[in-house]
Symmetry: C2
Subunit: 203 residues, 2 copies
Amino acid sequence: MSGTNTRSRGRPRLFDEDAVLDELTELFWRKGYSQTSMADLVEASGVHKSSLYSTFGTKEELFAKILRRYFAGRMDMMSALVDRAGPGVDGIHAFLELLRSDLVSDSSQYGCLLVNTSSELCGSAPGFEGFGVEFRKALRERLRALIRQAEPDGIADQRVTDQRTDLFMTFMLGLNLTVRGGADENEIGRVIDAMNATVDTWR
Amino acid sequence: MSGTNTRSRGRPRLFDEDAVLDELTELFWRKGYSQTSMADLVEASGVHKSSLYSTFGTKEELFAKILRRYFAGRMDMMSALVDRAGPGVDGIHAFLELLRSDLVSDSSQYGCLLVNTSSELCGSAPGFEGFGVEFRKALRERLRALIRQAEPDGIADQRVTDQRTDLFMTFMLGLNLTVRGGADENEIGRVIDAMNATVDTWR
DNA sequence: ACATTTTACTACCGATCGTTAGTTAATGGT
DNA sequence: ACCATTAACTAACGATCGGTAGTAAAATGT
């Protein structure tokens, strides 16, 4: 407003909040919620425990914040993949190719944090289920749009689209477990090729 | 050998080991390894903590025993489903129908313990990864046999079989997450129908 | 009857869990 | 200079964690 940044009043933070959240996300992503202790988070971030609490609240609140943040980023990424993929059956192939490129990168070797968390905590911490449910719903919407574009105009059959979307979603979930299970580049490639072969029957 | 049961020497157990293992399995299955405490196991089984330790060893050892036991039972069940399914593409449909019957029952609402465990602990307790890896390998073998029988003799293409097996395995893993995510009978049915439609293209 | 073996049961261990009070340090506002 | 505000940092809290002595009880063997 007045030309310069309005600094906050008290002592300034020694750490960058976003950078720390990234590091904490990586930990939760790899080890899961209950296997990640506050001591682990302190060690990974270099931020003192009390500072973590005063900044992010309790472990539950911190994890909820991390899940929301991850949700937004993950959906942005997925949407970007769908957008870049383009229309038609070739669009689905392109999407799978973009997905492959991402999955073989180091940053995605733990699968999807939201899916993992949903599976880890659905039987014990019902509060976190919602994130996974919401995410799957949102992702399903995007994938459905991608698949719908692969059907020729005028012949689009809603039930066929839904069925293919169900299969594709289930495939994505299975792929998540495959990646988290430690699959290497070859295995990921094979699985995606298998889906490509199925998608080819959609022409 | 001598006509009567050879009783053990000391004070007899007040609990049935198999029944207790069943109860403990259910707990681990639902809540996962790290969210299940020894106190939980004591409460669920009614067996005192020291008795659990003297009978099954540490929590890690107990869990390993439970995983081995579950492994055997799960593979028996899967093999039975494959055997009952019969040959041909209709055999795969039959397999999926048997699978559906099982998944809507209460006992399977938590997915597969081995798959869940593999996902939960692969980033923190590397000792338990092996069970899931072995199980997926064994299951894959069975499914491959089922799928191979669906290809007409003489035309069987090994690469096609492998590709369909990859897709089917990925589907099974995704279905596992779908079930554990709390899917109801309808959603499970829709997902299985979607796979059925794909299998129909294999004729 | 007595010793041996195995289990049931109580009580407790040190370590780690998530969490918080209390103090020192660094900034902006007046 | 002084105050208000915010954060860094230390030190500890009670609870729970997995795990284990030590003792009482119930069976078999001789």
